[in-house]
Assembly symmetry: C2
Homo-oligomer: 333 residues x 2
DNA sequence: CTGTTAGCGCCTTCAG
DNA sequence: CTGAAGGCGCTAACAG
């Protein structure tokens, strides 16, 4: 049934060398003469040999396998642009680096205890984890990271250690900047700030940025928690926007919720978002926001994970962000 | 470094049985007495043993690995709701079935020749492929399927054979029905139909459905190809909508493009879509469309692939669809 | 019903 | 610089 049976042994015979020599050229070992290297490569090409990853992994105990752990809405048919961008960025970079990435959703492992998670990933021969959006309540997942069983890269969460790196934009600065730009030259003083999660790392940083600006400009800011929920933002807007001059949200999705609410309320208030998702382009007129390049962030995370797996030690990585005004025609062209 | 070194051998010793016996209970072989099964399971639990998938795969030549092959926009930060739904549906079902799914994007393999693709997947120990949206021009990918090297499930493309199944909704019927419902009781006779790809399988079927209805109702339909591009649909709308009564599109994204164009043109024409993506809810007022459950489709594809890998023979599977009117508040709640 | 024995395809010392 | 030999952890006949 399977005629893929050309193995390293065949290559060795074809090239007239030992099986281990082939292995050495395959793995770019230093001490092989140019001449034999040549012979081997010719044989490989001639036979169309492709090394068996499974066997290599078993033998070397290095699988090059990593899991991308994502939080995805469990509801049917919802828009999940950010996770998708993470997936694309990570998978493409992984291919480039010869790594193997499997995608895992929070919901799939939510019920597990730390021990079970460890076993789950071990049974999958996973060596590294890229975890997106770990929050403070995720004690189990945090325990997983701290178990030291896996190399980890945490996107949007702190936790640098010997075997774990953290990667994120400067949320405090970004929120400060975008709000500053948004308010610049206008006379808004009463602001509704819709924050993210109560115990979220990025939410806190963004809130800090907002507070710093508020202090500098002497703004009166009403802070409410929207849990990154569009619906919650909608409700908060309906409840509080009337008496405010402008609305600043810790995410685009919430900004959209706010904007749609304002339309339904039939009043106008400027809205500022955060993330730079293309969905923004669909939801209304152009809007100030922070643009994160999620693909690039994921790609960097893979790169960093690869470094950790090679023996590197954890570090903190800050990615750049941009301030933009997003509008529909930018999105589709 | 890695203390995961408890192997089947240790379990065997602990349980006082042979190594192969352990393997048998692990793989649920029939002929093992309840008693020894019990002993073995106790030992497994005691040692916290977790079988090494890699070794099992190498030995049995069965990896349970499959690739989900997707077409994703190469542009930065675009909305990719449908692929994301496929991923979620497939991965969740795969976990349930103990399979291992890797995601592969068209762009990653686009340049390859059939031989290279085969080797690429073989080197990854992939046994099965789920291919989404194979089009007629994808001769290489088609060649891959026909090579017979892998079990395949084709989403939205025909090609049933011994080792390949096809899974899709009844596009002809769906397009007929949604257009019929959309037009019902109204007096529209001049229609702009924005079709999908020139050589796409589903596009053709949908077009057939539209044509059948047109004939029955005596409609005058102008057919233009939008390539499933929002921008193209926008341009076509600007060009032709003025003299039409209504616009029917072969996808929601194109419907959105049409709708936005109409707004910019400052004229009103009803628009009908296809797919049921939540993005629709953001783009405007409610709109008639066909709702496909992409998650469920992907889950069924995984199930079908698993059947094929077990030795089953290919078949054609038709999934249900629903006619809906989608609106913003449905999407966010 | 249980144990023995070969490998799966490759990597990796260790001699030559 | 090259080759021989011994596994990695598990499965799958085949004996018992």
């Amino acid at each position: 049934m399977d005629s893929n049976s050309v193995s390293i042994r065949d290559v060795a015979r074809e090239a007239g060398v030992a099986i281990s020599t082939v292995s050495k050229v395959l793995n770019h070992y230093p001490n092989v003469s140019e001449e034999t290297k040549e012979k081997v490569n010719t044989a490989i090409a001639a036979l169309g040999f492709v090394p068996n990853t499974i066997a290599a992994a078993l033998s070397s105990k290095k699988t090059g396998r990593a899991a991308l752990v994502l939080d995805v809405n469990r509801h049917a048919q919802t828009v999940d642009e950010i996770p998708m961008q993470y997936i694309i960025g990570a998978i493409n970079k992984a291919k480039e680096k010869g790594m193997d990435i499997i995608t895992v959703f929070f919901t799939m492992i939510a019920e597990m205890r730390v021990e079970e998670m460890i076993r789950y990933f071990q049974s999958q021969s996973i060596e590294g984890l890229i975890i997106c959006g770990l929050s403070k309540e995720d004690v189990t997942l945090r325990g997983l990271v701290e178990s030291g069983k896996f190399k980890c890269v945490l996107i949007d969460a702190p936790g640098v250690s010997e075997h774990a790196s953290s990667i994120h934009i400067d949320n405090e600065k970004a929120q400060y900047e975008v709000a500053a730009k948004f308010l610049k030259g206008r006379n808004y003083s009463k602001i509704l700030y819709i924050s993210g999660k109560k115990d979220g790392y990025v939410s806190e940083e963004r809130l800090n940025g907002m507070n710093r600006l508020a202090q500098e400009l002497g703004l009166k800011v009403l802070i409410r928690t929207g849990n990154f929920s569009e619906l919650a933002a909608r409700k908060l807007t309906m409840q509080y926007a009337q008496s405010k001059d402008a609305i600043i949200c810790a995410s685009d999705l919430m900004a959209i919720g706010a904007m749609k609410a304002l339309i339904d309320m039939d009043i106008y208030r400027p809205v500022c978002g955060f993330d730079g998702v293309s969905l923004m382009g669909y939801a209304g007129k152009q809007m100030h926001t922070v643009r994160q390049d999620f693909r690039k962030i994921a790609a960097s995370a893979v790169e960093e994970l690869s470094r950790l797996m090679e023996g590197g030690v954890g570090q903190d990585i800050v990615m750049p962000h941009r301030l933009i005004r997003m509008k529909y025609l930018d999105v589709i062209s």
